[in-house]
């Protein structure tokens, strides 16, 4: 029997971490993820977990300590957001290259400048080429569920993983959610058997050696393969978890897409807003749907292409701008995922909600209205738009 509780996104992630009971957590607090570290450190102080907790002096140190810890074979986690994740950046690539399954409980927040503590996806979109598995959550329930799954996914793939919720919208929003029993979580993740450890004197190894022109390329190629293989492992773990929790987890969620003529693609909390508008449009006979990406890295390109190719007009919503003049990162990815199809959908891009700007039902209705116009005229008036900015 699962318990129903009221929790914020941060509380739900801290609760998941308590149930995971990692060997090591090295973390530095940053808004809006501070509470995760704070709540978890109280679990440590109260003896509710066996975790070795390292309060470090920066996020760069946090990730460095996590790498050292994971290289010994310890199950290792941390939490961060925004500038904190940006400060970890150098070490994130090292975690991937050393194939260490560190898990971050992340909270999405805008990047400076200007300084802003509210939600957008600029922080996590900035690590999209780092080889980390990236999972986005729509609400506190998904943040909790995804974090538990991420531990198993990361360990099975020997790759690091980050699970995120949206800053304040989810992290500080209270909702009712279901928890698994402690034992169910422990049985699900199992004992961690690291593929290697730095501290076995019987079997000394070198971790992080120098590679020149003769080996670097081969090592990068094998890491690329690990990311390629990760997708099937993510699907498998998600299915196991869906079975355990009775909540369905896939690479992405399809909401009323079967016969949809137009669809929105979005990550995170805005999916909830879009679902409300879709129900409203459907009641008027308008065939609108939603595709919510859960696993953003590795990018489910083939799977997305199959689904999206059937939908004539698609709007991709990006809560980050790539500043490449090509639109947001999700738009760029989806465009290239569809490029080789015989029949391609019409795609438009909206940069929305930067710095925590509210994205309301009204905004989503506006997007579907634009899609309707594309369906009616067959023409895209403007392919990249900023949704909700003062013009």
């Amino acid at each position: 029997m699962s318990k129903i509780v009221a929790k914020t996104g941060n509380e739900s992630m801290a609760e998941a971490m308590r149930q995971i009971n990692p060997d090591v957590v090295a973390a530095y607090p940053i808004t809006p993820s501070t509470e995760i570290v704070q709540i978890f450190s109280s679990y440590v102080a109260d003896g509710l977990v066996d975790t070795e907790f390292l309060a470090v002096e920066s996020e760069h140190s946090a990730m460095s300590a996590c790498i050292g810890s994971a290289a010994t074979g310890a199950r290792t986690m941390t939490c961060t957001a925004s500038q904190g994740l940006a400060l970890m950046w150098e070490m994130l690539y090292i975690a991937t290259g050393l194939r260490l399954p560190i898990v971050i409980a992340g909270v999405n927040r805008a990047l400076s400048a200007p300084i802003n503590i509210h939600c957008d996806h600029s922080d996590t979109m900035g690590i999209r080429d780092s080889g980390w598995i990236q999972i986005y959550s729509e609400n506190a329930q998904e943040g909790y569920d995804n974090l538990i799954q991420a531990v198993k996914i990361a360990e099975e793939c020997c790759l690091p993983a980050i699970v995120t919720t949206d800053g304040f919208i989810i992290s500080h929003g209270m909702e009712s959610m279901k928890l698994l029993e402690d034992k169910e979580v422990q049985d699900f993740i199992g004992d961690y058997k690291a593929p290697y450890t730095l501290i076995n004197p019987q079997k000394p190894i070198t971790v992080g050696a120098l590679d020149f022109t003769d080996y670097y390329f081969e090592h990068r190629r094998s890491t690329a393969e690990a990311v390629l293989q990760a997708k099937d492992k993510i699907i498998k773990v998600s299915q196991e978890y869906s079975h355990l929790s009775q909540r369905k987890y896939e690479l992405f969620e399809e909401y009323r897409l079967d016969d949809a003529q137009m669809a929105i693609v979005v990550l995170g909390s805005t999916a909830g807003t879009a679902k409300v508008v879709i129900d409203e449009l459907r009641s008027k006979g308008i065939k609108a749907g939603l595709l919510k990406i859960r696993v953003y890295r590795p990018f489910p390109a083939e799977e997305l292409a199959i689904v999206l190719s059937k939908i004539p007009a698609v709007a991709i919503l990006d809560r980050a701008d790539s500043l490449s003049t090509m639109g947001g990162p999700v738009f760029i990815d989806i465009k290239s995922a569809l490029y080789n199809l015989e029949k391609r959908s019409k795609l438009i891009n909206y940069i929305y909600g930067l710095g925590g700007r509210d994205t309301t039902l009204h905004h989503i209705r506006e997007v579907y209205q634009d899609l309707q116009n594309i369906l009616d005229t067959g023409k895209i008036a403007q392919s990249i738009k900023y949704l909700g900015v003062r013009e």
Partner: protein, 96 residues
């Protein structure tokens, strides 16, 4: 030329599973100046052995018997640390 392993044959994560394998990777070629040890002057205080950052001073039975030029980088620390009155190590230009 020795055939190098392909990407599928390598251990994961760039690990090196063989202990002490750095010995197989000769790095003495980076040197532009070279220490020359004079056995007759040397008092075997082992300062050079302690300070050499590359473990390139070869010691047998408590006595310096030579320098391992396969790894010595020519940093000159040994010459600097040798007691000035003894000056048993001189640095000369490397010629290959």
């Amino acid at each position: 030329m020795k055939k190098l392993p392909n990407w599928k044959e390598l251990p994961m994560g760039g690990l090196i599973l063989e202990a002490g394998s750095a010995e197989n990777y000769k790095t003495g070629g980076w040197r532009s100046i070279k220490p020359i040890h004079d056995k007759d002057k040397c008092i075997n205080c082992l300062n050079c052995w302690i300070y050499c950052p590359d473990s390139s001073i070869i010691v047998e039975d408590g006595k310096v018997v030579g320098i391992n030029y396969e790894f010595c980088k020519g940093c000159g620390i040994c010459a600097h640390e040798c007691p000035p009155k003894v000056a048993a190590i001189s640095m000369v230009e490397e010629r290959r």
